[in-house]
Symmetry: none
Subunit: 219 residues, 2 copies
C-alpha cells in the first residue's frame, strides 16, 4: 500500500555496539531507508519516543540489559502503535520467538542469517509482510489450528464463489483496483461482480456490503 513517507525511518535497539554499528551502516546504505535512532537499551528508546517522531520500523534485540526485548515489545506497541517491530536475535529459539510474534512482532531476523538479509526483511515488513522462518510459522500454525474456527457461512444470499472472493478482499480494505490486480482481472470485472453483490445483499455501497457480510458471517 502507499508509503506515506518517502523514507523508512528505522530504529535499532541493540546493546552490542559493534554489531549495532554494522547494522546501522547496512540500513543507511539501503534505498529509502535511514537508521536515525540507535539505542543500547529499551528504556533509552522509550525516552526518545517522547521527544522525536516515532520510527516506521524498530529492530529490537532480544537480549538487552534491563528490560528484555520481548517485554519491551508491548511497551513499544503502545508508545508507537504505527511502528512495526522486527525481533533481532542470535538464538533460534522457536518458543521465545513464537511468544514475541504473538506479542505483536511483525517478524524476526536471526543474526546468524547475515546482515544482508536485514534490508530484505525490513522491506517485507514495510509492505505488510511478516518474515519468519518455517519453524516459527509451523509453531504459529499449530497453535492456530487448535482453536477450530468453523465457519457457519450460511449461503442464503446465493453469492457465487467469485463474488465472495471479491467481497472478502473488500473487507480486507482493498480498493477495486487492488482487487483487480490481486485477482489478475480487469477493474471493470470487479465492478461487475460487485454490482451483483450489492444487488444480492440489497446495499448500494462497498461499505454497506462489507458490514452486512461481516455481521451475518457470510464471509
Amino acid at each position: 500500500m502507499p508509503l506515506h513517507s518517502t523514507i523508512t525511518n528505522v530504529w535499532l535497539v541493540e546493546d552490542n555496539a559493534l554489531f549495532g554499528r554494522s547494522v546501522q551502516r547496512v540500513v543507511n546504505g539501503l534505498d529509502g531507508m535511514a537508521c536515525e535512532g540507535g539505542f543500547t537499551s529499551a528504556e533509552a528508546a522509550f525516552a526518545a519516543l517522547g521527544q522525536v517522531p516515532p520510527p516506521d520500523i524498530i529492530l529490537l534485540d532480544v537480549q538487552l540489559p534491563g528490560m528484555n526485548g520481548i517485554e519491551a515489545l508491548a511497551t513499544f506497541r503502545s508508545l508507537a502503535p504505527d511502528a512495526r517491530v522486527i525481533i533481532l536475535t542470535v538464538f533460534d529459539d522457536p518458543d521465545k520467538i513464537f511468544r514475541a510474534v504473538c506479542a505483536g512482532a511483525s517478524g524476526y531476523i536471526l543474526k546468524s542469517s547475515g546482515i544482508e538479509h536485514i534490508g530484505q526483511a525490513i522491506k517485507q515488513v514495510v509492505e505488510g509482510g511478516a518474515p519468519m522462518t518455517p519453524e516459527i510459522a509451523q509453531r504459529v500454525l499449530d497453535t492456530f489450528s487448535q482453536k477450530e474456527s468453523n465457519q457457519i457461512s450460511i449461503d442464503d444470499y446465493q453469492l457465487t464463489e467469485r463474488e465472495i472472493d471479491i467481497l472478502r478482499l473488500l473487507a480486507d480494505g482493498l480498493v477495486k483496483k487492488e482487487i483487480a490486480d490481486r485477482l489478475e482481472i480487469s477493474a471493470h470485472t470487479v465492478s461487475t461482480h460487485l454490482r451483483r453483490v450489492y444487488s444480492k445483499l440489497h446495499v448500494s455501497t462497498n461499505t454497506g456490503a462489507v458490514a452486512k457480510a461481516l455481521r451475518e458471517r457470510i464471509i
Copy 2:
C-alpha cells in the same frame, strides 16, 4: 525429524503437464526424494490413494480442473492423514492461501519463486516447518493475535465517543452526507472525524474502517 523412511515419497497434483514434468524432474533429482505420483486432477489422486501407499508429501496446485486445490485439501487430509500438503500456485493471493493454510496445508510455494525452491520447501516441511511468504505469515498472525489474549480493543484504539458514533452509522450503510444530516452537523465535520478514525485504526477507506471495527467488535 521422523526418519521412518529413507525416501520421501512425493506426489504431484498439477494439471499443467509441462510444468508438472519439470517439477517431477527436479524432485527426482533431489537426494532422498522420489516423485512417484503425478496426477492432473484431485479426483485422480483420490482414486490412487485407495490402491497404493500414501505419499509423505503432496504438492497440490490450486487451479485444477474439477475440484480445486483448496477444496481437495480437506479430502486429502482425511484420506491420507499423515501426508503433508504443500500448496503450489501461480497466484500470490494471501487471502486464499491463508484459508488453505488454515485448512491444513503445511506450506505453500509460488510457482513464480522458481522450481529450484521446491526441494527446499519439501525439506522444510519434512523437518516440521511450514514454509510461507511473509504476506501469508502476516495474515495468519493477524487472525491469530485477534483470538489470542486481547479483548482490549475497545480501549486500545482510543476512539472518541463522537468518532464511534460516526463509525457506527457508517457500518449501518449510511454515506457521509446522511451521517451529517442524522447528527445535524456539517459533512466536513464528518470527514474530519473519519480521517481521525482512519488514522487510529490504521486504515484508509471507510470500508476498511468498518471491517476492522466489526471484526474487533469495537462497535
